[in-house]
């Protein structure tokens, strides 16, 4: 394993120290491991807290700032944060109007956030949880842990964040977050696995001409292995799965997301194919974002997310945001 680190055990803590040094506009509690807007708590504003395993940067720490999250809790690499950490962040940002927890649907994240929400409620803080489960590669059945939260997390954080910033109430902010999630579908391909510092080797090995289809963002293998095909084919197959899974009967926000090791030149090529195929399928694109946003360490791969966007969602998507990872307007 070759990485720019000092000791596999210290990666998250030292990266957090780097974030603290790099972003004076944020406040980092290195002890409790959370990141908040420097002006937190903001009295009267609904606060948004998210978090999850590290290794998906800029998610979530890179989305802390005006217009998006009030706090992020990074766990160890690919390991959800712990309840006391989430509680500490929740208390640090609560401005009296309640706190929305944005939680990606993984057993670990769900359980730890659930325990944290109970602890916060005990301390008199109103908490609403928005569960993100947009990954249509996983069948949504009561016999599984359900669909994973992936690319749509960014959309939920942006749109619910904007709603909170403009004064939305707790229930309203949570409601739009849930709407965005319900309206979104994602599908990912991996060309290689990422390597966690602790494991020191890739999560899985792929032959030189094979890919994982329907892969997750934690180095979980996908639903199946396939032969590598041209980008055009891969895009069409993925969009077919997404378009089948949910209703996209109007304008969409598109996210072409790199998983960490895929260069921008490929992501733009992919976006060109997405735009062409959606035009063929009669799905208008209202907005789009291309880049590495919800990553899986150094995994070469990409995910596509579509969100059937209402006018309200588009308005909030366009609203200002000022975070290390996403910047809009003022």
């Amino acid at each position: 394993m070759k990485k720019f680190i000092n000791d596999p055990a210290d990666v998250v803590a030292q990266a957090l120290a780097g974030i603290a040094a790099a972003h004076p506009e944020l406040r980092v509690d290195v002890e409790e491991q959370y990141i908040v807007r420097a002006d937190a708590p903001r009295p009267g504003k609904v606060a948004l807290v998210s978090g999850g395993g590290s290794g998906h940067e800029p998610l979530h720490s890179g989305f802390v700032g005006p217009g998006m999250l009030d706090a992020a809790c990074p766990g160890e690499v690919f390991t959800s944060p712990v309840p006391y950490q989430i509680l500490a962040a929740t208390k640090a940002v609560d401005g009296g109007a309640g706190v929305v927890h944005i939680v990606k649907n993984y057993t670990g994240d769900v359980l730890n956030f659930q325990l944290a929400a109970e602890l916060a409620t005990d301390e008199g803080i109103s908490v609403e949880t928005v569960l993100v489960d947009d990954d249509v590669a996983v069948e949504d059945s009561t016999w599984t842990a359900g669909r994973r939260g992936t690319g749509a997390t960014l959309l939920v954080e942006k749109i619910a964040g904007a709603r909170a910033e403009e004064g939305g109430k707790l229930a309203e902010v949570a409601a739009i977050g849930r709407e965005v999630n319900a309206a979104s579908g994602s599908f990912a391909y991996a060309l290689t696995a990422g390597t966690t510092p602790a494991a020191g080797r890739p999560g899985f090995e792929l032959p030189a001409d094979e890919i994982e289809a329907g892969v997750g963002i934690h180095g979980e293998p996908g639903r199946r292995r396939e032969k590598l095909r041209p980008a055009r084919d891969l895009v069409r197959s993925a969009l077919d799965v997404i378009l089948d899974a949910k209703s996209f009967d109007g304008p969409v926000i598109v996210l072409v997301n790199g998983l960490g090791g895929t260069p921008l030149i490929e992501l733009y090529l992919v976006y060109g194919e997405v735009a062409e195929y959606l035009a063929e399928r009669g799905v208008p694109i209202a907005r789009r974002l291309v880049g590495n946003y919800v990553t899986s360490l150094d995994m070469a791969g990409m995910s596509l997310t579509l969100c059937r966007a209402t006018d309200e969602m588009i308005r909030l998507w366009d609203a200002p945001a000022r975070t290390p990872g996403l910047h809009r307007g003022a």
Partner: protein, 206 residues
């Protein structure tokens, strides 16, 4: 069992997890995200440190402290699950210096219920419940048949290991491995494997 023995148990569990970190992580890489060994090792290292720093005087307190420490240091699925299990087990014990095997039966079962309540896994879902459940049953039967702690722990350890091995042909329905669908078949569940280590550790010190 007294507090010293309970602490020895936790130390033995920590040693077993440390020795098998890589194995657990490999099992988790196959059908999960490859962090289970590292997660538990981080957690049990903290448990040992916490128990040494201010050694509790009852078995109940030892287990509660171990549980809370796991909950606050591990994260992931296994942190809340193992943490709640130990915490619930400790809370189910009387605050006495010594606890009897029959009291441990109640405690272990309370731990199992906590896991099932939190995670919602049923037997056969290919989770740690598949090792934990049989282990508690075996422990209980041995105690009912008059076994002492050592005998009951040995029975539980055997049942846990058999239960863990029996996860191999199962298709996962809970946790990260469930995303794999049929591809989860043919692999041993990492959490069930670490649960087997827990009961083996108990039988070593009992």
């Amino acid at each position: 069992m007294d507090a010293t023995l309970a602490r020895d148990w936790m130390r033995a569990a920590a040693a077993a997890v440390a020795a098998d970190t890589d194995r657990l992580t490999r099992l988790d890489a196959a059908i999960g995200d490859g962090d289970h060994g590292v997660n538990l090792n981080r957690g049990f290292t903290a448990v040992v440190a916490a128990l040494e720093q201010a050694p509790p005087q009852t078995v109940s307190e030892v287990l509660v402290k171990a549980g809370v420490t796991l909950m606050s240091r591990v994260g992931g699925a296994s942190g809340p699950l193992y943490g709640s299990a130990l915490r619930a087990a400790g809370k189910a014990l009387p605050p006495t210096a010594e606890v009897r095997p029959s009291e441990l039966v109640v405690a272990l079962r309370a731990g199992l219920e906590a896991v099932r309540g939190l995670g919602g896994a049923a037997p056969g879902d290919k989770t740690l419940v598949d090792a934990y459940g049989p282990a508690v049953d075996a422990f209980e039967q041995a105690v009912a048949a008059g076994a002492d702690l050592a005998g009951a722990a040995a029975a539980a350890a055997g049942a846990a290991e058999a239960g863990a091995e029996a996860t191999v042909p199962l298709q996962a329905r809970k946790g990260r491995a469930s995303y794999l669908g049929e591809r989860s078949v043919g692999h041993r569940d990492p959490g069930a494997t670490s649960t087997s280590l827990m009961f083996k550790a108990l039988s070593q010190v009992a």
